[in-house]
Symmetry: none
DNA sequence: TCTGATTTGTCCGTATGTATG
DNA sequence: TCATACATACGGACAAATCAG
């Protein structure tokens, strides 16, 4: 993935490929590429689509898991988490 | 690397280890140790070969990058830049 | 049941980037 | 300048579980 210093979403830390990929996946979920409960792209697919190392892809997914956006099932894949609706 | 006040190549500023190393690398490129487009020695190797701190080696490489003699690819290494021939 | 393909889990080695004292 | 530590990233290898046939 091309390093994009003009990426729209900013973070606390430096803009890095794994953070950018995490944002991209989040955006794709929001856009409806994958519905709630559905499996997202495999690590292998993400590696091929974005030209990143698998370790980097895994780090991006780890961010999403940490944020509660997705969850991973060993040997199965990562799925879009069902998030509670915001009442605010 | 031993500080050498009698180094042949002179500079605008004071003679320092990182400037001397930059000169050495330049000379090695000119000599053909590394061809155009090829990766030069890693920072680690240069540290071991010349007995310098890594930060000093990095400063030397930064000089070469600044001069357009080499370019660095994150997580990959530094490469000999393809320089346009001088017609003057 | 067996087999092979798929997919995530883990570990290793290499290399540069950044920060601190 | 030096020494050290940690972060980031790439690439490879192998293990383990799952699933389709």
């Amino acid at each position: 993935m091309t390093f994009d210093p003009d990426a729209e979403i900013q973070h606390d830390g430096p803009i890095t490929p794994y953070r950018q990929l995490a944002d991209i996946i989040r955006a794709r979920i929001a856009r409806g590429d994958w519905a709630s409960g559905q499996r997202i792209a495999t690590e292998k697919d993400l590696v091929q689509e974005y030209g990143l190392a698998r370790s980097t892809v895994r780090r991006a997914i780890a961010v999403l898991v940490d944020d509660g956006d997705v969850y991973t099932v060993p040997q199965r894949g990562s799925y879009v988490a069902e998030k509670p609706e915001s009442d605010s």
